[in-house]
């Protein structure tokens, strides 16, 4: 198998130029449209843009980093020295499973938090944010936890059965 040929630099340069041109036109149109906004709308826009970055980098990223690092630490310790003498090796596939559950729960939480805030301020009329969102969110997290635990248990049983079938030597050399 030979390495695929690199694209001719001319093609690459043309594509880049076209992208930059399209981007510049987009930015220009956006800038012109901005001038049509009311000063108060411009202020809200600035707050919205800055708050998005601050919330993402200042709150969301540290939370996710700490959660992932903490989870990884616990799993590694369990698999190695164990916690209080108890050892447990997470079956293959646990990582993506737990990540998926956390992502689903996290996204639903992000949807619900503004609704809880709106309800605490008092809805403008009874057709706005009518649901009991807090209780439903707790329920959703509970369902996710049950799914994660049940599926991990299933994977764990499967791994154990496989280990029993295979001779120990085969396991050591994957």
């Amino acid at each position: 198998m030979t390495a695929p040929p690199t694209p001719p630099p001319r093609v690459l340069r043309t594509v880049r130029l076209l992208l930059v041109a399209a981007g510049a036109v987009g930015l220009g149109v956006g800038a012109v449209k901005l001038t049509a906004l009311h000063p108060s709308q411009l202020r809200s826009l600035a707050v919205w843009l800055v708050a998005g970055v601050v919330l993402h980098d200042g709150v969301l990223v540290p939370l996710v980093t700490v959660a992932l690092a903490g989870g990884g630490l616990v799993l590694r310790r369990l698999a190695g020295p164990g916690i209080r003498g108890r050892r447990w090796r997470a079956p293959r596939g646990t990582g993506p499973l737990v990540t998926s559950c956390l992502v689903v729960g996290g996204v639903l939480t992000l949807v619900v938090l503004p609704e809880l805030h709106a309800r605490s301020l008092g809805a403008a009329n009874p057709t706005v944010v009518p649901g009991d969102y807090g209780r439903r969110l707790v329920l959703a997290w509970a369902v996710l936890a049950v799914v994660a635990v049940a599926r991990t248990g299933g994977l764990s049983l499967r791994d154990r059965a496989r280990r029993r079938r295979e001779p120990p030597a085969a396991r050591e050399a994957p």
Partner: protein, 235 residues
């Protein structure tokens, strides 16, 4: 969008290199997802993101799509919830129109240049009525279809001899607010499905839906379907 396009342009050589290398590596040998960092494989990432998107769609899209209304746990609106089965954004109380809208002396004034007529609700009801099935499609993200009945704006404009090329501006009883008036381009103003609605779902409009008369037209965001009309003038 513009910034994104420029960003891709700046990173294009890196992107191309990445995909070329990937193909060169996987060309001869079997290449499955990495086993060391299980949580960050491409497949794991796509599954997690896909599951998140699917969950949000399943649990919120019911505010606009009838088929998913039973699983609508987290959307800010509920299909069919509201007076006459339709959600409300701004109530009559919030718009401070209650007294003006319930005044028996209310009339709708239609103006074209020096010509003008003032029509009571009874006079509007006596004009030819049209029934349409049109949605309130709010930019907040919810949409609900409803059956409206009322007088064509085109018929009202004909009463004051407005030619077919004219647009129209409708004005609400609302004393203030950015959506107190809205403009109809000529094509909208003379469209056969553009109505001054008097009824919703076979009943007189609820006060919160714009009684005594509101605008309903195809292909307009909800906030421009002006409620509690007092005036229609050509532009």
């Amino acid at each position: 969008m513009g910034a994104l396009a420029i960003h891709v342009a700046a990173q294009l050589p890196t992107i191309v290199r990445h995909w070329r290398r990937e193909r060169a590596v996987s060309g001869g040998q079997v290449s499955t997802g990495s086993t060391t960092a299980e949580t960050t494989t491409r497949r794991g990432f796509l599954v997690a993101v896909g599951a998140g998107v699917a969950a949000v769609v399943l649990l919120t899209a019911g505010q606009s799509f009838r088929a998913l209304r039973r699983t609508n746990l987290f959307a800010p609106r509920v299909q069919g919830l509201g007076p006459q089965g339709l959600p409300v954004n701004k109530t009559a109380a919030a718009a401070r129109v209650h007294d003006a809208a319930t005044d028996p002396a209310w009339t709708l004034t239609v103006v074209h240049g020096a010509r003008s007529v003032a029509l009571t609700r009874a006079e509007l009801e006596a004009l030819p009525q049209t029934e349409v099935e049109l949605p309130i499609a709010c930019v907040e993200g919810w949409t609900t279809f409803a059956r409206w009945r009322g007088v064509r704006v085109a018929d009202l404009l004909a009463l004051v001899d407005a030619p077919s090329g004219t647009g129209a501006r409708v004005t609400s009883l609302e004393p203030s607010g950015p959506y107190r008036t809205s403009d109809l381009e000529p094509a909208f103003a003379h469209h056969p499905r553009t109505l001054v609605a008097l009824e919703l779902g076979g009943e007189p409009l609820d006060l919160d839906h714009g009684y005594p008369a509101r605008l309903i037209a195809p292909a307009r965001p909800g906030v421009l379907q002006t409620k509690w009309l007092t005036r229609v003038e050509t532009t």
